[in-house]
Symmetry: C2
Subunit: 101 residues, 2 copies
Amino acid sequence: MFIAMNRFRIAKGFEEGFEDVWRKRDSYLSEVPGFESFALLKGPEREDYVLYSSHTVWKSREAFEAWTESDHFRKAHAQASAPKGTYLAHPELETFEAVVQ
Amino acid sequence: MFIAMNRFRIAKGFEEGFEDVWRKRDSYLSEVPGFESFALLKGPEREDYVLYSSHTVWKSREAFEAWTESDHFRKAHAQASAPKGTYLAHPELETFEAVVQ
């Protein structure tokens, strides 16, 4: 199992607009080989932001990397973005391999 | 869906010993109400450490919190720990609620 998480620092007051973008976006992920599941996660609230993380599970790192180079990826990322002021920093991608299950 | 991740900064050279502790430990999780799945994840390698994260999925935050106050939790955490020098920092717990799926 391979998990890709993209961490977003979202300014307080912008949570709803950010979640809406994800609710409305067509990710096209269900068509992608090796894709297993997606969730947008709401994490801890810090002093000046709320941590969110997109959480996608893949059969393998290779499946994830193939997706990032695919037309599905480009189509998903060409859609509407969140309102100005939403992001306090660039998203931070972290990828993980399951080593014990 | 609720996900609890405990982030560990593991000193380079100590990865195998750290993974062994998790391989050998009996977590008793399968007996816990509301528990869905567990994985130990190996994440990005940074300059002076490797990021690992324990990844447990629960039906709800309440199920996770009940577990942290249970005898199962105490039994699982009373077992052998990793060799000295393994941890570069205290583990950092982050919990997440799925808001879009």
